[in-house]
């Protein structure tokens, strides 16, 4: 398809500007000419061309509303439409963040209650909704840990991170000045306790643990892990991206976590927008409440107010209060489901993952053969060995069957990883037909490997040259001729 610049034509525009109802003055008089730009080279298109351009672009994109999207770790569940409508109401959309608190009591109440709900669901003392995404929440959480030790006068510069961890974990640790140390997994897919013991010193600020981890496995030794960390005065950080696995079943706070960041856009069903916005609330145990970012909401009688008055706070991690509109959707979601609904979410998510695991086990290597939680991780090793068909080929071939591929090559500890997260919103029929497609591809890999390697065959472009893209980066279009 052409770029919007390539259909641009001087003199066209889709959006007109209202004629001024006040005197038009000379801009050069109001603003010294040296401050003014000389050119403005934006695309010039009529509304019809604009709409066709983006509508046709949308049709080259796959979303949950089109079909199954088992992207492991990303929890691509169906997002109820009603929440979109709710979040679009002018009452929520229209307020300026600096509107006086009297104007914003509804918003403040919503944020306050959301923090309370999350605190109960996750067993934490308090939550902040300020971080804009999961990784931002991680950073915020690690900053609080840093602050905590700084206030206590302890110098701890290390953070332990399991080898199965999501890349944001070490990156977040690093972005707030910690040195990271990799913690090995054991043959069972859990934390290698002996390795942990050997690494845990009084230099270690925290262990960043994902539970269930990125293999979809629950850390059976969680009690021991927490004891080891806490025993040396460290803190236990939880990456809550996988919270879809245990809502109403167990609570990170009860398991010993001191901090947990959530990905509202995953667990609480706000659509992911092709890459964002998300929302990454962070919950903390009592130990860390003082360090929460400001501002925080204070409830006085029936009134809610913002307050900056928390001297030990880490400060702010972004302007204003977070991705409020995303929170609105997640709040409505929690209100719709209630306790039983949320619990059912996890039960069905876990049921679905185990169902897929059992159905595909005969056809793909399953490196950790135990009950999984909300996702299961296969390895494509067998297909590589048998026919030179790689996980990426299998993924691309799934596209031809109408599915979004699973997450691949993550977690890094599984070679040729295929990470399937069905979520609770998918029907048995969908899981069955997906498994049939996977099995068909496994067969095809043997019988006609080239066909799999040529996939996808049904898309407008196929197998894009990533090496070229990285070698000769072209991230901004340049007019030619």
């Amino acid at each position: 398809m052409k770029l919007i610049f390539e259909i641009s034509k001087p003199g066209r525009s889709a959006a007109n500007v209202t004629a001024s109802d006040v005197p038009a003055i000379s801009i050069e008089e109001a603003i010294d000419k040296k401050y003014l730009r000389s050119d403005l080279d934006l695309p010039e298109v009529a509304e019809i061309d604009l709409v066709r351009h983006y509508t046709n672009l949308s049709r080259r994109n796959f979303g949950v509303d089109l079909g199954f999207y088992p992207l492991g770790s990303c929890t691509m569940k169906y997002n109820p439409k009603v929440n979109e409508n709710i979040a679009a109401t002018p009452g929520f959309i229209g307020l300026h963040p600096y509107a006086p608190d009297e104007f914003a009591q509804g918003n403040l109440q919503l944020i306050y209650e959301m923090q309370k709900y999350l605190s109960d669901i996750f067993g934490m003392a308090e939550f902040t909704l300020q971080p804009a995404a999961g990784a931002h929440g991680e950073l915020t959480g690690m900053m609080m840990i840093k602050k905590c030790f700084e206030v206590k006068g302890e110098k701890r510069h290390l953070v332990l991170i399991p080898d199965a961890a999501h890349g944001t974990n070490p990156a977040s640790g690093a972005l707030c000045g910690f040195d990271t140390v990799t913690l090995r997994s054991n043959s069972d897919g859990g934390v290698d306790i002996e390795h942990l013991k050997s690494l845990m010193t009084e230099d270690v600020a925290a262990l960043m643990l994902t539970n269930p981890n990125t293999l979809g496995l629950f850390e059976r030794n969680i009690e021991q892990v927490a004891q080891i960390i806490h025993g040396k005065g460290g803190l236990l950080y939880g990456d809550g991206a996988n919270a879809n696995a245990f809502l109403g079943k167990t609570r990170p706070g009860d398991l010993g976590f001191d901090v947990i960041q959530l990905n509202l856009h995953k667990t609480f069903s706000t659509p992911h927008g092709g890459g964002g916005p998300g929302s990454g609330p962070v919950g903390v145990s009592a130990k860390l409440v003082d360090y929460l970012p400001v501002p925080r909401i204070i409830k006085n009688g029936q009134d809610y107010n913002w307050s900056d008055n928390f001297p030990h706070s880490i400060g702010r991690v972004r302007a204003f209060y977070g991705n409020f509109n995303v929170v609105v959707k997640a709040y409505a979601y929690i209100r719709s489901l209630g306790s039983e609904g949320l619990t059912r979410v996890s039960e069905m998510a876990v049921l679905n993952a185990n169902y897929i695991k059992e159905k595909l086990k005969p056809y793909f290597d399953l490196p950790y053969d135990r009950v999984c939680m909300h996702e299961c991780v296969f390895s494509g090793k067998r297909q590589v060995a048998e026919a030179g068909v790689h996980t990426t080929d299998i993924a691309k071939r799934l596209i031809d069957f109408g599915y979004h591929p699973p997450t691949i090559y993550f977690p890094l500890i599984v070679p040729e990883a295929i990470m399937i997260e069905p979520t609770e919103t998918e029907s048995k029929e969908t899981l069955d037909t997906f498994c049939e497609a996977m099995i068909a591809i496994a067969r095809e890999a043997k019988e006609n490997p080239q066909r799999v390697k040529d996939a996808p065959l049904s898309t407008p472009v196929s197998r894009l040259d990533e090496v070229l893209a990285a070698r000769k980066p072209d991230v901004v279009w340049k007019k030619t001729g």
Binding site: P23, H96, P97, T180, K249, R251, A319, L342
Partner: protein, 441 residues
Amino acid sequence: MDYCPHTNDDITQMQAAIGISSIDELFADIPKKFRLKRMLDIPAALSEQQTITAMSDLARKNKLPQLTLTGAGAYSHFIPAVVGHIIGRAEFYTAYTPYQAEISQGIMQAIYEYQTMIAHLTGTEIANASMYDGASAMAEAAVLCAKMSNRTKIIVARSVHPEYRQVLNTYSWANGYAVVEIAYAASGQIDLNALQNQLDDHVAAVLVQSPNFFGVIEDIAPIADVVHKKGVLLVVGFTDATSLGILQPAGASGADFVVGEGQSFGNPLNYGGPYLGVFAAREKFLRRIPGRLVGATLDKNGQRGFVLTLQTREQHIRREKATSNICSNEALCALAAGVYLAALGKNLKKLAALNVYKTQYLKNKLMRLSGWHEVFAAPVYNEFVLRCPNARQVNEKLQAAGIIGGYELHKDYPELKNTILFCVTEMISKEGMDKVVMILK
């Protein structure tokens, strides 16, 4: 209600296939003592109809003002209807980050176009696919400069948005960097001498905003000269992104990084979020910048297509050595910005001019009130600071009439007692401004 489609039959069959007789068996790895034995303490489930009622009750507890004269980092602009229609396409908003290029060409091409528009608007060569917001974009730029230069001091103009400076402080503290503030001159622009005095070998970056928090347009070129002479990097922000329609872009005046809040481009106020962190830079920093990048390439048949590129900068590959931890960004807000900018095209200049006209109108009217004075002499875009006899009273009067007044600066600038930062956009009619003046007379 929940959104799980399984019937009881389905569940029974699936349990049988797995070889369990109850769902609880699947949760056996959770130590018994940690299993939750009570219901969650949240309100009872609601039907769709009830959810709507409950949520509109909440929304109604907000009071939507007739007029908002506050900008201060979040701007009320008219959003053409097309924007909502496009970002409301399910294929866009129900997609994840475009990891699988072949079925994500839509969002990737749109982001590539967005990157191009942003680079042009900021006068730089490259732009990423978005950051969380303007404040975190600026903080990440500062951290990046420090990391690249192995220096530990960051200089920021005191006229940069107070919350941006707070975010900067937080990020800098966490990384062990010192932050030094530079005062503003009487004009409202940065005090260039003070800046020069602070520029030493430890300084990694200088951060200014233009228009700055006072609405004042900074003179970037001389700042860039001074800063670059000391081998320091210059990061320039902006407040209302629509100003880019009319102002000389910082990139063209020598900025190394241009960062800021893109909300003005097609994203509603939303009580502060989601917003859109703009991050643009000189070409030479391409492999160092944070955030996702969409790049054009060719497919196996030689057709143009788009991919997430230079991913080796990113956390999922480089882990602790990544240029940032960012993963999810604000793609849909960036899409909205792209659509908005494509819709306006060159009309963005007209729009910016309209903002100037209206701003001057209100400013002139208010300055005629007795006891009201201009605080800063330098030119402004659509925000300006006035001193008045009693700032609190002014805002209270306006609020009583359902109007959200200006931003009272003394909270962040104790030296600026009884000063108010006003903002006027195309959303404020002459009639509305005349009413404001009437109320304050």
